[in-house]
């Protein structure tokens, strides 16, 4: 488990940032805590805060979150061979804690020849606990800071998104996809179509990956 510390530290920092940003956006503490307990998906939760602050319709919020999380289908499929020996109830329990981080750590463990599923459960549940503790800390801190725009705190969420995208770039085509998505969404928002801007741009830009082979 030792190699998990950098990941856990990052989860604490990002979780705290989420709590601060969500509180600053005007969401109630109970709503913010519920998001971390029930949704438990970093990028989606930041996206929800952003969409709530733009007063996006409920279906737009849910579909956006669904799109962001479709990648879980790939990760869960990839973990199937290892989790297959568990009874259905345990598999459904394991699924709740599946995140980019727990998937990456578990995949590394299995690739090194590890067979223990306790590794996955320990790490994945530890991340869940940390994420929720960090969220509460962030909510408390966020409530204590004054007007967010004065200190540029409102830009923290955008900076977080930019950082996530930059760190996720693996190929040149990823850069093109990210730029196209951002530009299309920006133009649509300026044109007054802000409710559908993110979903439209986010669904269209990955078509580039279908056409262009890496």
């Amino acid at each position: 488990m030792g190699e998990g510390w950098p990941v856990m530290g990052t989860v604490l920092l990002v979780g705290t940032t989420f709590g601060v940003v969500a509180r600053q956006s005007g969401l109630e503490p109970l709503e913010i805590v519920a998001m971390s307990l029930l949704v438990f998906a970093g990028a989606s939760q930041f996206a929800m805060v952003q969409l709530f602050s733009q007063a996006a319709p409920t279906p737009v919020v849910i579909v956006s979150v669904l799109f962001i999380n479709l990648r879980h289908l790939l990760m869960a499929t990839s973990l199937r061979p290892q989790l297959q020996r568990l009874p259905l109830g345990w598999r459904l329990f394991a699924a709740f804690f599946l995140t980019d981080e727990s998937f990456a750590m578990a995949t590394g463990h299995f690739r090194r020849g590890g067979r223990s599923l306790a590794y996955y459960f320990t790490f994945a549940i530890a991340l869940f606990v940390l994420w929720n503790v960090a969220t509460v800390v962030g909510v408390v801190v966020g409530g204590a800071i004054g007007d967010p725009r004065r200190f540029g705190v409102d830009f923290a969420i955008t900076a977080t998104f930019i950082g996530i995208v930059v760190l996720a770039i693996r190929h040149r085509v990823d850069i093109v996809i990210a730029l196209v998505a951002a530009l299309v969404a920006g133009v649509l928002a300026l044109a007054g179509a802000s409710t559908i801007a993110v979903i439209t741009a986010g669904a269209v830009a990955p078509l580039i990956a279908v056409v262009v082979r890496r």
């Binding site: 920092l13 990002v14 969401l27 709503e31 519920a34 029930l38 949704v39 438990f40 990028a43 996206a47 929800m48 952003q50 733009q54 409920t58 919020v61 849910i62 956006s64 979150v65 669904l66 799109f67 999380n69 479709l70 990648r71 879980h72 869960a76 973990l79 459904l92 394991a94 699924a95 004065r150 540029g152 409102d154 830009f155 923290a156 900076a159 998104f161 930019i162 950082g163 996530i164 995208v165 930059v166 760190l167 996720a168 990823d174 996809i177 998505a181 951002a182 530009l183 299309v184 969404a185 920006g186 928002a189 300026l190 801007a197 993110v198 979903i199 741009a201 669904a203 830009a205 990955p206």
Partner: protein
Amino acid sequence: MIWIAILGSAVATYLTRSLPLAVTLGRRLPPAATRYLEALPVAIIAALVGPAVVAPVGALTHGAEPVAAAFVIAAVAWRRSLLAGVIVGVVAVALLRLV
């Protein structure tokens, strides 16, 4: 409405996590579909950035956000750290808005 969105998002997220572990899909996804799904998260998150940088309060930016965004990209690419990007971005946008 916020609670419906939170509960709906929770259900949607859990379905993406649990479906492949609960049911057996007969066939593998075609490669094109896999490439689309792999590109989807980055595209959606980038799409969230666009409006926040170009039209932060619903109208065309005065320039602070795009410049700050460039600083964030440089900081994260250099330090490989999300936190570095957030700090640079927040400080940059606060200073640029004073200009």
